[in-house]
Amino acid sequence: MFRKLLKPFARFFEMHARTHYRAERHSFALAAGIILAASVGGFIEIAPLFTIDETVEAAPDMRLYTPLEQAGRDIYIREGCYACHSQMIRALQDEVDRYGPYSLAVESQYDHPMLWGSKRTGPDLARVGEKYSDDWQMRHLVDPRALVPGSVMPQYAFLLDAELETASLPDRLAALRAVGVPYDDAQIVNAAIDARGQTLPDTDWAEGVAERYGEETNIRHFDGRPGELTEMDALVAYLQILGGLTDLPAEMQAARGD
């Protein structure tokens, strides 16, 4: 039966075989052919995502990471937190039940690089912001087992003693603007001051942060120690905003029964 079905294509197969034999004898042509063939799939699957409208949802309330949160994000990456914690709640019933609304593409819009991850030694952190207090986060980072007896997470107590380096923040924000994060000039120029201001509630600096990043910005002593700006401040500030950049996921997925 097959022979009958394939008969009209006989010439094609013949030509295909000839070309193949010829290519087999030229290793570069063969390699180029393999790369070309393999990239067809990638091109058809990936390239259209850049033009299809619904790839990234529209979230008008999406806010930017403040310089302190961005610094915390860099520490999160530096310390390899992503190796054990994902930031991606998949569209699966059990994940939604445990972690809340599944992650939307727009939530990672300003993440460079994104930290979705696929390995969970610890829990997913996509919506961990405001789930615990600053104090809890700080103490948990200092000694995880003091609060969660069975935890295997390493200690990060040194973050409390490490002064946060802020001088490079304007450049870091400018670099992010270069890849599409809409920081304005005032935000970039004031980045170092804003990082400090976010830990100094009721000061002019804090007002500057609220003015540039919105009234809903968390302005607190994240590490519980007023006056000092530590890496702990930055990391806790970052953890507390995870899942809080936009309300869209909660609005889209409000149907939880009551």
Partner: protein, 292 residues
């Protein structure tokens, strides 16, 4: 194409490659491979028609089945909640004491609440709900804001010192850092407060008298004239033997010197009203069990 040769033994052509006199047979592709390729192609055609497949410029073909993973999970979650509706509805409609009278619902609550507690409460309050430094015990009957069902429900909903707009607010002033009290005055009032709850203190009667005066001038507005705390303000009872941060000299000095503002998250968006009611009932049971 190279010179074709036939292998005399099998009758197949060879590839024309030769290594030290050994040639390679060019055997036919096995039939099963052709079948697999053919079926895959047919499957792909069917899939293109039924499922989202081909990218167009700004959109894509949705497929006859209209499958969308996000819609599927939305639907499943909604369905799961509808199935629970028979016993969840009363949790949001009835007051706590009436829920307790319905054994079937309480059976569900007792099966579900411990898992909720483990996920949302145990990180701070401990797996045994006994608390720890900075995190109040939930089984000592010393409720900061009150232990009746409505109060617990409200505390769970808005949190304490949380970013929620209606959050309960309770802050102890930093009496030392704000220069309201001097260090000797702080030590005196700490001694006095320790004496209230029967802790041993080496302070002289004069110091205690000074502490009492300082207490009357600075502390009674929140902790009450009898130092038994004021629940509407979330100010703890200072005469009992429970301490949130600790009753030793150093900890109490820090408490008065730098102030305290414990933070409990708001669970209004994280937990449904029915889930908060389940936790409330569970907490009350835990507290009652511990009290026995």
């Amino acid at each position: 194409m190279s010179v074709k040769e036939r292998d005399p033994l099998t009758g197949h052509e060879t590839t024309g490659h030769e290594w030290n006199g050994i040639t390679e047979l060019n055997t036919r592709v096995p039939r099963v491979i052709w079948w697999t390729i053919g079926i895959s192609h047919v499957w792909a055609l069917v899939y293109w028609v039924l499922m989202p497949a081909w990218p167009l410029v700004h959109t894509y073909t949705k497929g006859l089945l209209g499958y969308d993973q996000q819609l599927v999970v939305d639907d499943r979650v909604a369905k799961a909640y509808r199935q629970l509706e028979t016993w969840r509805a009363p949790l949001t409609e009835l007051p706590a004491h009436q829920i307790r009278e319905i054994p079937e619902i309480m059976a569900h609550v007792n099966a579900t609440a411990p898992a909720l507690f483990g996920d949302y409460c145990a990180a701070c309050h401990g797996t045994e709900a006994a608390g720890g430094p900075g995190f109040p015990s939930l089984v000592d009957d010393a409720w900061l804001w009150g232990g009746d069902a409505e109060t617990i429900m409200e505390t769970l909903r808005v949190g304490i010192n949380a970013p929620h707009p209606e959050s309960r607010i309770a802050q102890m002033l930093a009496f030392g850092a704000l220069d309201i009290l001097t260090r000797p005055q702080i030590r005196a009032v700490v001694d006095y407060v320790q004496s209230l709850s029967g802790l041993e203190t080496e302070a002289t009667p004069e110091v205690l008298a000074e502490g009492e005066t300082i207490f009357a001038e600075n502390c009674v507005s929140c902790h009450g004239e009898d130092a038994r705390g004021i629940r509407d303000l979330g100010a703890p009872d200072l005469t009992d033997d429970t301490w949130i941060y600790g009753g030793d000299d150093a900890t109490m000095f820090t408490t008065v010197n730098l102030g305290r503002q414990g933070w409990m998250p708001s669970f209004e968006t994280r937990l449904s009203a029915a889930q908060r009611m389940m936790l409330t009932l569970y907490l009350q049971d835990l507290d009652a069990e511990a009290g026995e």
